[in-house]
């Protein structure tokens, strides 16, 4: 009983452990086989167990070609425990023999990171006929016509690639490595010189010749053994099955495949000599090679102050781009300007231009100029001299101001700049601003300033609109006029009251009433009656009726017109009525 319980406990614990362990992912790297020959291939797999991850990008390795094949997944259930795998497959093709280390690379996956590394050894099988045959059928040779050049002297090297006639390649050539790591001036630029056929030991070879020009910056021995790779087209190898996804080996019909091959190449040692210090002229321009120097001066007859252009041309084989232009001797009789490099029309030539302006008519000759360089044929320094150059300088008839331009020579298109520097200082500022670069953009004052104009604009627009509305509207216009017209008549009535002219007084009152109500109600004066006015002012019907009757009675009645007190009272009542009507909204 106790034993059964213990077994059950063990099982539960074990299952729990397994369950927990499944949450911890793992990654492995494997290469099979780890020892291959040069003609063989290996398969590398990276397995992610119980976790997920994308494929790993391996950095390129010199001598190996690593190609990603794809991925597949596996799930296993063993003893009720499931585990999954994601397997990434890579095909490794060797380009040369040797020991290789792939990695370390960091594999990041769910659950952690791990550094992966694997080793592969590639051997060249001794006695392998196929390997021996390949070396006899394809190889490279490097040579140079000049085995002892000087520093800065350009010398050509030629690379011949021999391919036995009948051997197929895809035509692509890549050259990498095998060149001196330092000391060369610039990178080597290979160009194809020729493609010929040659017979060697009774066999016909297709020869591709490439050439490059080399220039060194220092003296010493430079070794060249370029690593040349071509892609050989061979029948499909049946050594191993690499899977259907392999574009090279997945061909079920057994046709051809392209295999990269590194060619055997000899070693070329070139001993570069230094340019000797002994016997070096003072005006040595740095030129090395076999060079020629020409000078043209023109015009040869000018007036004082007019420019004379000197053109110097250096041509030949050598380090033309490193040559410093020869310098003219300075003289108080003329003013010399900076020399400019000019784009030469012919290849293998450099040209310089310099302007000279005579300041005196006493100048009869421009001094000679010399160009010193190291001649690699005679192995010695050589100085080429030209001049002196006769010139005729005429005095100007009226001595005028000598206009000297800072750039007397026209800036011709294609002028090559000799040097660069920063633009000079700026002058003193006219005002000194003592303020930090930051600061608030919108202060309360600014906001108030910005907000005021549109507020004023809106108010003005509103007022104008109201005014225009009032003045343009007929009814409103008449409405506005009512009080004014009534007031004028009432003023007359007061005057007639004072003058004690009742007839005119009552007439004026009647006109005041009709003028007011006709304008007020937008009616013709003849339409105004008590009934009409009462309709519009029903709340004041009684006083309106009484006043209308009183005024009409007094106007048309022949009886007494009324005493002054009564007239005054009537006037006041009419004024009150009109005021009340004016205040009324109607």
């Amino acid at each position: 009983m106790a034993g059964c319980f213990q077994v059950r406990r063990l099982r539960v614990t074990g299952s729990l452990l397994l369950a927990f362990s499944s949450f911890a992912g793992e990654v492995h790297i494997r290469i099979e086989p780890q020892l291959i020959s040069l003609l063989d291939r290996a398969v590398m797999t990276v397995e992610f167990i119980d976790t997920k991850a994308n494929r790993i990008e391996f950095p390129p390795i010199d001598g190996l070609l690593i190609q990603y094949q794809g991925q597949r997944s596996e799930t296993r259930i063993v003893n009720f425990k499931s585990s999954s795998k994601v397997i990434h497959r890579y095909l490794i093709t060797p380009k040369r023999s040797g020991d290789f280390t792939i990695g370390p690379v960091t594999a990041a996956f769910k659950g952690g990171r791990k550094k992966l590394q694997a080793a592969l050894r590639v051997i060249k099988p001794v006695g392998d006929q196929e390997v021996q045959q390949i070396e006899k059928r394809l190889y490279a040779r490097v040579e140079s016509e000049n085995q002892e050049p000087y520093v800065q002297e350009p010398f050509p090297i030629k690379l011949h690639i021999f391919v036995l006639d009948g051997v197929q390649t895809d035509g692509r050539i890549s050259i990498s490595g095998g060149l001196p790591e330092s000391g060369l001036d610039g990178d080597l630029k290979w160009k194809i010189d020729a493609q010929t056929q040659r017979e060697i030991n009774g066999l016909l070879f297709n020869v591709t010749t490439l050439s490059a020009t080399v220039k060194t910056l220092t003296a010493g021995t430079f070794t060249f053994q370029p690593q040349v790779q071509v892609n050989l087209i061979v029948p499909r190898q049946n050594r191993r099955f690499y899977g259907f996804s392999d574009k090279f080996f997945g061909d079920l019909f057994g046709r051809q495949e392209s295999r990269p091959i590194m060619l055997d190449c000899n070693r070329l040692a070139v001993a570069v000599q230094p340019v000797p210090l002994q016997g070096r002229p003072v005006d040595f321009t740095g030129g090395v090679g076999v060079l020629d120097f020409k000078v043209e001066v023109g015009p040869q007859s000018v007036q004082v102050g007019e420019p004379i252009t000197i053109r110097m041309q250096i041509s030949g084989e050598g380090n033309l781009d490193k040559i410093i232009p020869p310098a003219w001797a300075t003289n108080t009789a003329y003013k010399l300007y900076d020399v400019h490099a000019v784009e030469a029309e012919q290849p293998g030539t450099i040209e310089f231009e310099q302007v000279l302006i005579p300041v005196t008519a006493a100048l009869t000759n421009l001094p000679s100029i010399s160009f010193s360089y190291f001649n690699t044929l005679s192995h010695d320094f050589l100085t080429l001299k030209h001049g002196p150059f006769p010139v005729t300088i005429k005095q100007t008839a009226q001595p005028s101001a000598l206009i000297v331009s800072s750039t007397p020579g026209a800036h011709r298109a294609g002028t090559h700049l000799v040097g660069r520097d920063i633009v000079h200082l700026k002058p003193m500022p006219t005002t000194w601003k003592n303020q930090p670069p930051g600061g608030r953009i919108f202060s309360p004052q600014t906001i108030a300033l910005i907000g005021t104009p549109p507020t004023l604009l809106a108010l003005t627009a509103l007022l104008l609109a109201r005014r225009n509305a009032r003045t343009n509207h007929t009814v409103r216009r008449r409405r506005q006029r009512a009080h004014r017209q009534a007031s004028a008549q009432l003023q007359r009535a007061r005057k007639y009251l004072k003058k004690k002219e009742p007839a005119l007084f009552y007439e004026a009152l009647w006109k005041a009433i009709t003028a007011y109500f006709s304008q007020r109600l937008n009616l013709a004066p003849g339409e105004i009656s008590a009934a009409c006015v009462k309709r519009h002012f029903p709340h004041r019907a009684e006083p309106i009726e009484a006043l209308f009757q009183a005024v009409e009675y007094r106007r048309f009645g022949t009886a007494e017109k009324g005493r002054p007190a009564e007239m005054k009272k009537l006037l006041h009542e009419i004024v009150d009525l009109l005021k009340q009507c004016e205040r009324s909204d109607r």
Binding site: T106, R420, D421, I422, V423, H424, L425, K426, P427, M428, P429, W432, K433, N434, Q435, P436, P437, G438, I441, I450, P453, P454, L457, T460, A461, L464
Partner: protein, 243 residues
């Protein structure tokens, strides 16, 4: 009488203060021309430390630093001068030259960025205020002058567009405060994929490279953009340029 004397004394002090800056500037110029670039740089820095933040001072200081061989300080001050005077061709040319010498890429700018950078923030604001004032004036005139109201309103559209453009310029320039520019001070700096010490390096940044911050800093790291690439750089390796 005493009041007048005090005012006169104040004016004299002010002019003396101005003469002091002139003197220092002249001395700095003379030191530069004579070849004492370090001395010249120190004098220009004195003026900057006094609070005179002007493009000419930053530019001249940068020139002196460049000649002394301090490319980092040269690029930093050329860039600050550029922010103050973006249209100056000398500043642009020298900044480009200094960046080339340092082996750093020039800060990339799209066409819109180049257009908005033609004016400083202050200039954009001046354009906006001027256009706004003219627009208000035009609208006031349009209220009262009915006969030419149509022409005035057409002019108002142009001013409105100017205000819009200036507002965009202001907004664009203010955005730079959200994405400040830094300069790399360390000899060699790595921009990593993540803000962690052992993160994988994405690309390297040369000293004096100008980088633009892309998001708020994360502890001691900041994500920057350089030559169309983004990466995380330690704050200890960089220094702010603008703002």
């Amino acid at each position: 009488m005493n009041r007048y004397l005090i005012v006169l004394a104040g004016l004299l002090c002010l002019s003396l203060h101005t003469f002091a800056q002139h003197d220092i500037f002249a001395q700095a110029e003379a030191a530069y021309v004579s070849g004492d670039f370090s001395g010249s740089a120190a004098l220009f820095e004195t003026l900057l430390n006094q609070g005179f933040n002007q493009a000419e001072l930053h530019y001249n200081l940068a020139n002196a630093r460049f000649k002394s061989g301090d490319l980092l300080a040269a690029v930093e001050h050329y860039r600050r001068a550029w922010y103050l005077a973006p249209r100056d061709p000398d500043i642009r040319a020298n900044l480009r030259f200094a960046l080339e010498e340092a082996g750093a890429a020039a800060p990339p700018a799209s066409r819109m960025e180049s257009w908005f950078h033609l004016l400083t923030l202050r200039e954009w604001m001046q354009v906006a205020i001027l256009a706004y004032s003219l627009l208000m004036l035009l609208l006031f005139m349009a209220l009262f002058l009915r006969r030419i109201r149509r022409f005035l309103l057409q002019g108002g559209w142009i001013l409105l567009l100017s205000i819009l453009a200036a507002s965009l310029g202001i907004w664009f320039t203010l955005q730079l405060k959200e994405r400040p520019e830094w300069i790399v001070t360390a000899q060699k700096t790595s921009a990593c994929f993540a803000p962690m010490a052992d993160s994988i390096t994405h690309f390297e940044l040369p000293q004096a490279a100008l980088v633009r911050q892309t998001r708020p800093p994360h502890s001691q790291w900041v994500e920057v953009e350089y030559d169309h690439r983004r990466g995380w750089v330690a704050l200890t390796d960089i220094k702010p340029v603008y703002p």
